[in-house]
Amino acid sequence: MADVMLTLLKDLIRLPGLSGHERPAQERIQAAWEPLVDELSLSPIGSLHALKHGSGESPRPSVLVATHMDAIGMMVSVLDHGLLRVAEIGGLEPRVLPGQPVTVHGRRDLPGLLIQPPAHAIPPDDRKGPVAVKYLMVDVGLPPRQVERLVRPGDLVSFAQEPFEQGEDRLVGHSLDNRASVAALTACLVELQQRSHHWDLWAVATAQEEETLGGALTSAFALRPSVAVAVDVTWARAPGLPEHRTFPLGEGPTNAWGPNIHPGVHKALKEAAERVEVPLALEPLPAHSGTDAFALQIAGEGIPTGVLGIPLLNMHTPVEAVSIADIRRTGRLLAEFVAGLPADFLQTLTLD
């Protein structure tokens, strides 16, 4: 059964699905979720809504688990003598970009290379130091007239880095932010086939998280869940990074705490983790969570929210790395959390 999760993940990190253009990813996720849920639908802006009915008497409360399916990338902004200038979709780290293989989704998919232009193609003041995205270009190796026939402004450019594994546990590739969480939610749905749960579960693969949080905001408004949990990646510990903001790869997910989090939901996640012996670190987030939860919390009349984080190395680069064990643990934790929600959970959530 675990194969469903891993097969899905490995497929997803080979598929494009940039913010605002998630269809390739959405279709693959839908195929995986179809046998696991009762109803499937799409929001007006492309988020995938999957409903698994609870066993409680109607009307049942619902919990929404959001994992964003969009990935960062680029969009062709203007053609320049056969080379392509690009705009960012989501937040890119410009310093990792020169030399990256990409795919230009024009009239057909074209392999290309992100290049740092020679000095004369950059204004004098900006020649030293990292080259900003506005000076980078994509070279598809074709003559300008052919490029003009095949590529237009607005065409998408996604990373083409081939994923690979390291040892038994590590998966490396692009878009693990946030396909790792989609995989975790899938593992949860798989486990819930064997377990009963009182509450309805909305598994939502949201659109546009990296640009606008728009998918989470609009889906929460439409579905009006009583509780919402966002699952996203968080920063894994690495040399030179602040210790209190990073978490070791392979030692379990994190449970966020701060103004974006309802203490009652945080507690329920913590208790669920204890019951299934999943190590769960507290992640203090004094400002906001930087996830879909920021939108979920203030949708409509407000929703009690929580955030689970899966540690990820090299976030927002084509060599993101995740621990597969962490994904499985997160899936197990989610299943226990959902199954463990008592009928009267909402009453226990009142803040004094």
């Binding site: 269809r23 988020s47 969009m75 902004s77 506005k134 607005g154 905001l217 609009t218 889906s219 439409a222």
Partner: protein, 333 residues
């Protein structure tokens, strides 16, 4: 169209004070709409064909950028803050107009070094008085650029082309639209320049199925200008992305198909800095597939915004072509 643009651009209407423009628009569209209402924030909603099944909201903002008085000194000079995004460099020596026709000159403190860039703190308003008691404005009063409309061949130049050009396109489309299967909600919105505030509330109230904004966009065709694929005179631009909006790809495709079928020259737009009403319409309620038809414009947010009449006419043709035929978007992309 030229005369309409002249009347619209010369009207006074900074964010929050759109009454004069709203009255003008109301005059123009009287008799063209089946229902005319004003939202709590002051946006004007004109609905055509209320029986139509699909609700399409077409938004053009009535407000322009401006200045708000923040202090009046003993000699009657006033200091000010911005309403919307202004580059202080573009203000020096220009004239401002307040409500009731009050006029002022924008002056700058003595600059020893002329190569230094002007900042907001260096500027002030001169109302031609000598003491505070005679100053005709109060702290909180709002003014905008004062500049007449002028044409050079097909190139039309005025302040507030952003977004009176969009307003003109909406009005002309209402005039020429023979038949539409949709319920079209023409929303002449307020307070776009200060945060898309009118559109956000109009979209909530109108609850549309599809959203289309009409606004200006920058061009890449001036000396050492931004690297952009949009040029003056090459037709209306179909917006694919801006700083806050990922246009619905299905809507973009539909717009392209309609432009090609109607033989309207068009351009594809990716704007790196700046956004429009469409970005908030898209995230209203449960979500609304949205896009934008842009009118290419040079010198945006200066007193001399320049558009091409052919692009404006093209936008009307394109919007009419879109609205007069079905808009079945199919599954989301």
């Amino acid at each position: 169209m030229k005369e309409l643009l002249r009347r619209l651009t010369e009207a006074y209407g900074p964010s929050g004070h759109e009454d004069e423009v709203r009255d003008l628009v109301r005059q123009e569209v009287k008799g063209l709409a089946d229902a005319l209402t004003v939202s709590p924030m002051g946006s004007l909603h004109a609905v055509v064909n209320p029986q139509g099944k699909t609700k399409v909201m077409v938004a053009a903002h009535m407000d322009e950028i401006g200045l708000v008085v923040s202090h009046i000194d003993p000699a009657g000079f006033a200091r000010f803050q911005m309403i919307g995004g202004l580059n202080p460099q573009t203000l020096v020596g220009h004239r401002a107009r307040f409500a009731n026709g009050i006029r002022a000159v924008i002056g700058i403190e003595d600059q020893e070094d002329w190569t230094k860039r002007a900042t907001l703190a260096d500027l002030y308003l001169d109302f031609g008085v000598s003491r505070a008691a005679d100053c005709p404005v109060r702290v909180g009063d709002i003014g905008s650029f004062d500049r007449p409309f002028v044409g050079i061949g097909p190139r039309l130049i005025a302040k507030a082309m952003d977004d009176r050009a969009g307003v003109a396109v909406a009005i002309e489309t209402m005039r020429r639209l023979r038949r539409t299967p949709h319920q079209v909600q023409f929303a002449f919105t307020v307070q776009e320049e200060v945060g898309l505030r009118g559109a956000r509330t109009s979209a909530f109230g109108l609850n549309p199925d599809i959203g289309i904004a009409l606004d200006v966009t920058r061009t890449g065709d001036t000396p050492k200008g931004p690297k952009m694929a949009v040029e003056l005179g090459k037709g209306p631009a179909i917006k694919v992305k801006d700083s806050n909006l990922l246009s619905d790809p299905r809507l973009v495709d539909l717009m392209v198909r309609r432009a090609e079928a109607a033989r309207v020259p068009y351009q594809l737009e990716v704007l790196q800095a700046g956004t429009t009403d469409a970005s908030v319409i898209q995230l209203t309620r449960a979500g609304v597939p949205s896009g934008c038809i842009s009118i290419p414009c040079r010198y945006v947010h200066t007193p001399s915004e320049m558009v091409d009449l052919a692009d404006v006419e093209g936008a009307v043709k394109l919007l009419s072509a879109i609205l007069s035929r079905p808009m079945d978007l199919g599954r989301p992309a």
